[in-house]
């Protein structure tokens, strides 16, 4: 008989990607000091490959239709958290009037953090600019006032303190992607490091 066909999962439950363990709390990971960005000075900017800029103030963001995704999140440091509740604006909404031929997105944050992913991974209901978590405003240590939320990739792609997205024709590696981490980071294929 084929091993695993009728047996139990090897190490984790059916909702956990390989190599992950379940956590009930919400660990705080950070590569630097926590930026404190007042909402009256916050803005989000999308820059296309032609240099055209689209800007949203905090009031602009709040005026857009909000969605309430409940998603599982998976950190590359091996914790997963299931059924997390967020409020945010879909990237489909933000990018609906943006004309671009770009294939890649380079995300940058207040504080200097960056990450990269294919533009198509931000679309079709797969990502949000999230500003509330678990019934409260998103705390600064979790990326408030607003963070990117891309739950189908490892959580380092869900940039805290998001400030803007550069739409590019070519793929530019971000903060962790240029220091050994995988360019794409699919937790279900355990794409942690370059070469995985």
């Amino acid at each position: 008989m084929t091993p695993g066909f009728r047996g139990r999962p090897r190490s984790s439950g059916p909702k956990l990607p390989p190599g992950q363990y379940l956590t009930e709390d919400f660990p705080v990971l950070t590569a630097g000091p926590t930026p404190r960005v007042p909402v009256d000075r916050w803005e989000f900017v999308v820059t296309t490959e032609t240099g055209q800029q689209h800007r949203w103030s905090w009031a602009d963001l709040m005026a857009l239709p909000a969605e309430t995704p409940t998603v599982d999140i998976h950190c590359v440091t091996k914790w997963s958290k299931l059924g997390t509740d967020w409020v945010g604006v879909s990237l489909d909404t933000l990018l609906s009037d943006v004309e671009t031929a770009a294939d890649f997105a380079f995300v940058h944050s207040y504080g200097g953090y960056t990450t990269n992913l294919p533009l198509e991974d931000l679309l079709d209901g797969q990502s949000w600019i999230a500003y509330r978590y678990d019934g409260a405003d998103l705390a600064p240590e979790h990326g408030g006032p607003a963070r990117l939320l891309v739950p189908h990739l490892y959580f380092w792609k869900s940039a805290k303190w998001v400030r803007g997205i550069q739409l590019r024709l070519d793929d530019e590696p971000g903060f962790w992607e240029s220091a050994g981490y995988h360019d794409y980071g699919d937790p279900w294929r355990e794409q942690r490091y370059q070469g995985d």
Binding site: T77, W176, A179, G180, Y181, Y193
Partner: protein, 84 residues
């Protein structure tokens, strides 16, 4: 031929990385602050180790440890002075 391949670095790098690097003096590429690696501000609750300049908080050094390799990113260091 004006150059050789990287095997020429083997001896010199082995000597450098055999020493305690925390005693080395790093110079921040962003602000020029120089001081012992031991005085950098290391953020370890992260996918890798991120060492920042105590002067300007820019990243000086990043170290990512995978099971079978390590990545050492030194682009934020203008130089490392290593006591030998």
């Amino acid at each position: 031929m004006d150059f050789t391949d990287g095997n020429a670095l083997a001896g010199p790098l082995r000597e450098i990385f055999a020493v305690d690097m925390t005693a080395a003096t790093s110079r921040c590429a962003a602000c020029g602050h120089a001081g012992p690696v031991a005085t950098l501000r290391v953020y370890a609750h992260a996918p890798g180790l991120v060492a920042r300049c105590p002067g300007c908080e820019e990243v000086v050094l990043r170290l990512v440890r995978a099971p079978d390799s390590a990545w050492l990113d030194l682009r934020g260091a203008a130089s490392l002075r290593i006591p030998l």
